[in-house]
């Protein structure tokens, strides 16, 4: 089986929000739920702005899995961490357990409360998000099954993201993977999403994630 992951070279990231919106359009998540976030980080001392594409880390040892009382969260054979929407009862333990704070609860709101837009009427399974249930990045597993990259990767204009099988020595992800590190590795969850970060920005990035990993307007 593959072990899918992603490397992000933040030297190339411009904070253009394309990945954020590509994910929204692909998955039709509810208002306020952004599986794919972009955090902007400023360093006054370095006179530098850095942008961080941030989402579920698809950990090899995901702390969200064992805490779920309904056993709704599992790792796919390809290592993708997924939430079974049938089993999930919105208990919320996973949200607390995740050191990256990347699990949301689907809110009651819709973008258009009075009506469904035509493309929302008979949605594919990956576009259905029942109220109150836990919600996070699926790595676009439905696209991977069709041999495609996740929507955020396919959409990135600056080619910040490389997607691939971390165990495949032939994969194009290999070269950058070896130069990358996961964020908050001290948490010991062994994320499969890792980063190449501009000089001097590791600490401020990790600090920011600990303080507030939400998109700030």
């Amino acid at each position: 089986m593959a072990r899918y992951g992603m490397v992000l070279d933040l030297n190339r990231c411009t904070g253009c929000m394309t990945c954020v919106m590509a994910c929204k359009e692909e998955n039709l998540t509810r208002p306020g739920v952004w599986w794919n976030r972009v955090l902007a980080l400023e360093s006054e001392s370095l006179d530098r702005m850095t942008y961080l594409r941030y989402a579920c880390m698809h950990c090899d040892d995901p702390p969200c899995v064992p805490v779920c009382p309904e056993h709704a969260i599992y790792k796919s054979p390809d290592g993708i961490v997924l939430i079974d929407q049938e089993k999930c009862h919105g208990h919320g333990a996973c949200m607390k357990a995740c050191p990256y704070d990347v699990i949301d609860r689907n809110p009651d709101q819709d973008y258009f409360p009075e009506e469904k837009l035509p493309f929302e009427e008979t949605p594919d399974a990956h576009r259905i998000h029942p109220r109150g249930k836990a919600s996070t990045c699926t790595l676009c597993v439905h696209r991977i099954e069709q041999g495609k990259e996740p929507a955020c990767v396919a959409g990135c204009p600056s080619r910040v993201m490389v997607f691939g099988d971390l165990d495949d020595p032939e994969s194009p992800i290999r070269e950058k993977y070896q130069r990358s590190r996961p964020l908050l590795s001290s948490e010991g969850t062994n994320p499969k999403i890792s980063y190449i970060v501009p000089e001097g920005m590791w600490e401020p990035l990790e600090q920011r994630i600990k303080e507030n990993p939400r998109m700030v307007r």
């Binding site: 030297n11 190339r12 990231c13 411009t14 904070g15 253009c16 929000m17 394309t18 954020v20 919106m21 590509a22 929204k24 359009e25 692909e26 208002p31 306020g32 400023e42 006054e44 006179d47 530098r48 702005m49 850095t50 942008y51 973008y111 258009f112 009075e114 009506e115 837009l117 035509p118 493309f119 009427e121 008979t122 929507a151 396919a154 959409g155 990135c156 204009p157 600056s158 080619r159 998109m215 700030v216 307007r217």
Partner: protein, 716 residues
């Protein structure tokens, strides 16, 4: 209707059983034409999802593009023609649904009456955002007999820079991407990380950086382009462009780094330019522009010694001040003195642009646009007296004196596609002027109160997924699209223009309203039809060229239509001293002019139009909740030091004031803007920053000072 619906449902169900069908269109999320390619998937007429059009020349797509799907089906879309029922000036215009026949009867009746009573030039034709209908609307204006056609480019966007290019180089260029030959890249006043030109090319720039190309980025802000690419980032005080450029040329000349042979042979006024920049020592330039002398020297040396150098300039960031044209002309002289014009890896002048286009698609094909007829009517142009150099070089009317023309009774009616009154400084003056007209019409996707409450008729436009015209071309490659049926009674821009023309009594000129026939009239220049585009839908159709790309064509006669060596300027050379400007008694060297001075009352400089990547102009605030969620409020970017002095924190409600007006905004302290500068994105109806801009214009181009005005910010 019910039967039709049932039938279409049955058809949809049948298609669904067969699965999704692919389709193709172009995005109009920002305002370029043609822009990025979208591949969509539909079930029946319902588009379910979209992705970038693979291998399309303008690719990938951006956040706005993804949101066009939500915009397409937005419940608030205009779906029927509407007319006002309450008199102008009423708090509620009382718009009611009417038929297309009634709308056209009103328009044609007014056009015929005005022609008889005031002459055809009293009708102003205008295309704002999107640019797509420009060719069809020009054909309409010319056939009706009005020379007064303008657009957003000729108001505040690209044309001042283009005028500078035409005066200086004799051909339009915003530069291009670095090639394998390029050693250094100068990016001045543009942020290709978020937008054109050319398209969303940041990925390619980042590749160039990885292969060793050096980057100089000139931008007061730490734009993502500067942040990710710049080896040297120059952050000038807004509106001091000509001084900074003069400073760079000062160093290049002083250290003998210019291309002397090129300068002597191909630059008109090179001695005057040398004399002029002699004064602009790095120390003096630092005082004027805030750019440290050392950085200036390093940038000048880097650009002149890493040969050849390319550049990218912006559409308008360097021309939003009262010295717009000469500021931009000053930038253009830097690669010129280095000899980087029309050399491999430098500033290209395409050898074989597509025959019959003579410029970017946005201008429209001159033949189809009946440009000759427009030129014959030149003496009736409303901007003739105020902006003679502009009129000599550009066919679109500079619109900023619209207020005066309407007051003087020179304009009686206004026909607008994508009209947006917030484009103008002191927008309310234009709103009142349009309201006072005999008749006005606007075509749009949504009802936009800040414009439509002042007009008589609003017509519903088909969106990008519902349009056939225009097709796209890049270089010598042509692409078509596969529209779905429009929502409601929406019609595409071209169709509306063609139908008005047909009803005015010119069915042959306007193809009886048939959009595909109009496209085929243009495509016929290359002996193809829209059907050929469909047959080659994803890959497009290549129009064969005659030969390979040539360089230094100014030596061989490949630039001028008369075949003589040289450039398309009066002197035949690149003009540091513009003979056109000289003729009209305007400063002919790219001189620096001191911008508005800050005062104790107004100690900050206001940059109107600090863009964010997920909004363009006034669009998208209400068109897509996906995007609005990213930023629901007008934000003021202010340096943390300036914020601290005023006790301002993130999210605070602020009052932003200039001598011309006041708006309310929310605070976003950020190091992106330097101390002394604040920025607000334009186009917020609830905080229209252009109300703070005075109607004081660059004397050459008529451009307003969107990036020069002094201001103050206080907590509310």
């Amino acid at each position: 209707m019910a039967k039709e619906e049932k039938l279409s449902q049955e058809k949809a169900t049948a298609l669904e059983a067969e699965g999704e069908v692919e389709g193709y269109t172009f995005c109009d999320g920002c305002n370029e034409v043609p822009f990025c390619g979208i591949k969509f998937f539909r079930r029946g007429d319902v588009i379910t999802r979209i992705e970038p059009w693979p291998d399309f020349p303008a690719s990938p797509i951006c956040s706005k593009s993804y949101a066009t799907l939500q915009r397409l089906y937005h419940p608030n879309r205009l779906k029927y023609p509407m007319k006002r029922t309450n008199p102008k000036g009423s708090s509620d215009p009382g718009f009611v649904r009417i038929s297309w026949d009634e709308a056209y009867d009103m328009i044609v009746g007014q056009l015929n009456r005005i022609k008889k009573e005031h002459g055809p030039h009293a009708v102003f034709f205008y295309v704002g955002d999107p640019k797509e209908p420009r060719a069809a609307v020009q054909r309409l204006a010319a056939t009706y007999g009005s020379v007064n056609y303008g657009c957003e480019s000729s108001t505040a966007c690209r044309r001042a820079a283009q005028l500078a290019e035409l005066l200086t180089y004799g051909f339009p260029t915003m530069g291009d991407l670095p090639t394998e030959e390029s050693k250094v890249m100068l990016i001045w006043g543009t942020n290709p990380a978020y937008s054109g030109q050319p398209f969303l090319c940041h990925g390619q720039l980042a590749d160039a950086k990885e292969r060793g190309v050096k980057f100089i980025v000139v931008d007061p802000r730490i734009s993502p382009t500067a942040g990710t690419l710049a080896d040297i980032h120059l952050r000038p005080r807004p509106a001091t462009t000509a001084a900074l450029a003069a400073g760079m040329m000062h160093i290049i000349f002083k250290e003998g780094l210019e291309d002397k042979a090129f300068c002597d042979k191909w630059i008109h006024g090179i001695d005057e330019l040398r004399d002029y920049v002699q004064d602009f020592t790095p120390e003096k330039v630092e005082k004027i522009t805030w750019v440290p002398a050392k950085d200036l020297i390093d940038a000048a040396r880097l650009y002149a010694t890493h040969r050849p150098g390319a550049f990218l300039t912006g559409a308008q960031a360097t021309t939003h001040d009262r010295n717009a044209t000469n500021n931009h002309r000053a930038i253009l002289m830097i690669p010129a003195i280095c000899g980087y014009i029309d050399v491999p890896g430098g500033i290209p002048k395409p050898t074989e642009p597509l025959e019959g286009m003579q410029g970017p698609w946005a201008d429209g094909p001159p033949g189809f646009c009946l440009r000759d007829k427009m030129m014959e009517m030149k003496e009736h142009r409303l901007d003739l007296e105020a902006f003679p150099a502009w009129v000599e070089k550009l066919f679109e009317v500079q619109t900023n004196y619209l207020v005066e023309w309407i007051k003087e009774g020179k304009v009686k009616a206004f026909l607008g596609w994508g009209l947006n009154t917030m484009i103008w400084p002191q927008s309310h003056a234009y709103q009142q002027a349009i309201e006072s007209l005999d008749f006005s019409m606007s075509v749009d996707y949504f009802y936009r109160d800040w414009t439509h409450r002042y007009v008589d008729i609003v017509l519903p436009a088909a969106m990008n997924y519902e349009r056939l015209a225009p097709f796209a071309y890049f270089g010598r490659k042509v692409f078509g699209r596969t529209p779905v049926k429009p929502q409601g009674e929406c019609r595409e821009d071209w169709q509306i223009a063609l139908e008005i023309g047909t009803r005015l009594g010119y069915p042959d000129v306007f193809f009886n309203g048939d959009v595909e026939a109009a496209c085929n009239d243009i495509l016929g220049m290359w002996k193809i039809t829209y059907e050929d585009l469909r047959k080659n839908q994803e890959t497009g159709v290549s129009i064969p060229g005659k030969g390979v790309e040539q360089y230094k064509k100014y030596e061989t006669g490949g630039i001028r239509p008369d075949g003589k060596p040289g450039f398309m300027t009066p002197s035949g050379k690149i003009e540091a001293v513009s003979m056109v400007l000289e003729k009209y008694g305007i400063p002919a060297l790219p001189e620096f002019k001191e911008p508005m001075e800050t005062t104790s009352e107004y100690p900050l400089i206001l940059v109107s139009g600090s863009r964010v990547p997920y909004i363009t102009h006034s669009k998208w605030r209400e068109d897509s909740p996906w995007l609005l969620e990213l930023q629901p409020d007008p934000l003021l970017t202010i340096n943390p030091k300036d914020a601290e002095k005023r006790g301002i924190h993130r999210g605070d409600d602020l009052s932003l004031k200039t001598a011309a007006g006041e708006i309310r905004v929310k605070a976003k302290p950020t190091i992106m803007v330097p101390p002394g500068v604040v920025g607000v994105m334009h186009g917020w109806a609830k905080a229209n920053v252009n109300e703070l801009i005075p109607r004081e214009f660059d004397p050459i181009s008529g451009f307003p000072p969107y990036k020069e005005v002094v201001c103050e910010v206080v907590k509310v």
